[in-house]
Chain length 416, copies 2
């Protein structure tokens, strides 16, 4: 590659790589390695580690996953590291409490579903997929101890979350101190040139630079991305906080949850999730930023594209139609199948039992709560009596805003 062309290409790659990122540490190292790669040297080894501590990935994870995809498109080596060993420790980063350790079976199951979900974004076949149990299960205790000699207690306690917990007198178990060492050692084993992460991983990823130096390696560059807030618009997106949009969720859920975001939160999602592929929407985005445009129309477009990203174009169209019908117009899904429910020996069935049988509620107590909230309808009429009983006939049941069922109630015994 010639000098001028090489420089342009370097600049182009840097721009794509830095889009949407909040902070780059080790820019000199990154420029040097990129130039080397463009001059025919080895491509960059780009690490993204995830902890398989929950079974599902959500939109928050996809921010850095898309960035990893960008590196893959640029010809570098994407390393998707599944921290199956680390998940068994539990990462306390950014948490106020010790995260419980997971058993190995749960970790393995989670890791499997992760890969299926990641395949929607990353070309997994051409990526380096690794599990850190591969080397951590073999690490002698002596080497572990030596690893831990390369960093001081005082500096680890400087990490925001540790500092706050220590100052507040909240217990920090010593094993939590070991987590960032394992994460750093992963970078040593993988010989990472760059690591991707959220801004809450700043400390750990920087520490890895020093541990790499201690092991005689050039330190990795660190590329940090803002954290996606949850659907509540306040906390970091997290399944355990109940504010997540999972990428495995049905198209209707993804669409509906997106539509219920506040306008401000919605624009933040667009900014973080666009990742160089929704250029056409940027003018509309800019107009909204200036107080113009129609946020509702834009939100519909964002919801449609998110569903399309994970489920394809047809699912996106269906989800949009579903949303219009059910949520906006207060109508019912027109393709609702009729379901048979046998009545009791007295020729009737209680409402709460019926809602449960139809799967519209998780439990009778949820059914009772929805009735009390006035959120249950029979044939379009609100029900206020939880002891209401129904006889034979066809009824349209509704629980909450979007759960419907058409039930044919018939006298007991199996149907002929």
């Amino acid at each position: 590659m010639t000098g001028a062309h090489g420089k342009r290409e370097l600049q182009r790659q840097l721009e794509r790589v830095l889009a949407g990122a909040e902070e780059l540490l080790g820019e000199e190292e990154l420029r040097a390695r990129l130039a080397e790669a463009l001059a025919g040297g080895a491509p960059l080894r780009v690490k993204l580690g995830v902890d398989p501590s929950t079974p599902d990935l959500h939109l928050g994870h996809t921010v850095v996953l898309h960035k990893l995809r960008v590196f893959q498109e640029l010809g570098h080596v994407p390393i998707f590291l599944i921290g199956d060993f680390t998940a068994r420790i539990g990462d306390p980063s950014g948490r106020k409490k010790t995260r419980p350790a997971l058993d190995p079976d749960a970790v393995r199951r989670n890791a499997e579903t992760y890969l299926e979900q990641v395949a929607a974004i990353l070309d997994v076949e051409r990526a380096e997929v690794r599990f850190n149990s591969e080397w951590m299960n073999e690490l002698p205790a002596e080497e572990f101890v030596r690893l831990c000699s390369h960093y001081t207690v005082a500096r680890i306690l400087e990490r925001d979350d540790f500092q706050q917990r220590y100052a507040a007198g909240e217990p920090i178990s010593v094993h939590e101190f070991l987590y960032p060492f394992v994460q750093a050692y992963d970078s040593v084993v993988l010989r990472a040139d760059l690591e991707l992460g959220g801004t809450d991983q700043r400390f750990n990823l920087l520490m890895a630079r020093e541990i790499q130096r201690a092991y005689g390696q050039a330190p990795q560059a660190v590329l940090l991305h803002p954290l996606l807030v949850g659907t509540d618009g306040r906390e970091k997106m997290s399944k355990s906080l109940g504010n997540a949009i999972g990428i495995h969720e049905p198209p209707e859920e993804v669409y509906g949850k997106t539509m219920r975001l506040s306008d401000e939160t919605m624009l933040g999602y667009f900014d973080l999730l666009q990742v160089a592929s929704w250029e056409d929407l940027r003018p509309a985005r800019a107009e909204l930023g200036r107080g113009g445009g129609d946020p509702f129309v834009f939100k519909q477009e964002l919801a449609r594209r998110l569903v399309e990203r994970f489920h394809g174009e047809r699912a996106a169209e269906r989800a949009a139609a579903h949303f219009r019908r059910v949520v906006r117009e207060g109508g019912t899904p027109d393709d609702l199948p009729e379901r048979e429910v046998p009545l009791g020996s007295d020729g009737e069935i209680g409402l709460l039992e019926l809602l449960e049988r139809l799967g519209l509620v998780e439990s009778r107590s949820e059914a009772r709560r929805l009735v009390a909230q006035g959120a249950v309808q029979i044939d379009g009429e609100r029900v206020s009596d939880p002891t209401r009983r129904l006889g034979p006939g066809v009824h349209l049941l509704r629980a909450g805003r979007r759960r419907f069922a058409r039930a044919r109630l018939r006298p007991g015994g199996p149907s002929p």
Copy 2:
């Protein structure tokens, strides 16, 4: 064993075991286990761990070694644990700085000499001698991490030395936090009923009680002994501080160093080192405590008994005679053999070279320093000129207070 007899025997064992100790933690556990053992149950498993970080044991180590011997005499199981794994970490207990880790070869050599030296006190053949590398080398990283989950950072930082270093802003490497966990895990593996140690080990030995509980074991009792001060009468005895009396040292050294102790330090030594075997001297000790008696006579007796303990009775007599002659009376050893030294081609030899050849000094620079200090004599006369040369003849050379040689200087070339 019948009730009344059992109670008397329990009391007798407790008294022997507690003699000279400073603190017993877990007295209830100890009484219960002793009673169980006396009733025909398993004997107590009594752990004493040492770090083979220096090649030689000194008197400071013998305080707890003798106590281990007492347990052995009472029919219990003495466990002499050589912390060969831990020595490779380096124990920072009571230190102001991180102790350097040792290489495995040095650790193995030290462990070998330890056992030879311990045999002077403990019946090693009937003791359980263990190395913690046996289980630590096999410990999976995951189990190590789990081990470290059983104690908090804040509580480890409460340990005096860590607290002081942390407050003073002196670096503490994270691997130093792992040391007490390994020591505690040793107690788990060894199923220790009691652990012996110096008062500086209080924190670690107590922590082992909690770790044992976490592993579902009854916690060990902890029996702490005062630390022996060094010959300087101030600091804890330690080879690296140059204030130690090594139990491997020649009888004359042990005797002479003991005689040079201050009277107060000497009495402290007696109290800690008597260990139920020097009862006959206690009245004299008590008289000295009241300001009466002759400290010098008592000191001679202590010196003699210390040499006897490690080298036998005859060595003790010789060391006493040597001390009287050389140190007190300023005389020369009367059994000094004559040694031949060939002169140079000019029929002479330089004084510094001669002192070195005779092994009276470690180096010419030491020889030069001793001459400058007026500490070198030829035939009883002090020499002040380091360039002094000697011709043929027989001379008595003296360097320092106690190094003598009789040399026959003869013209060059091998003797016929």
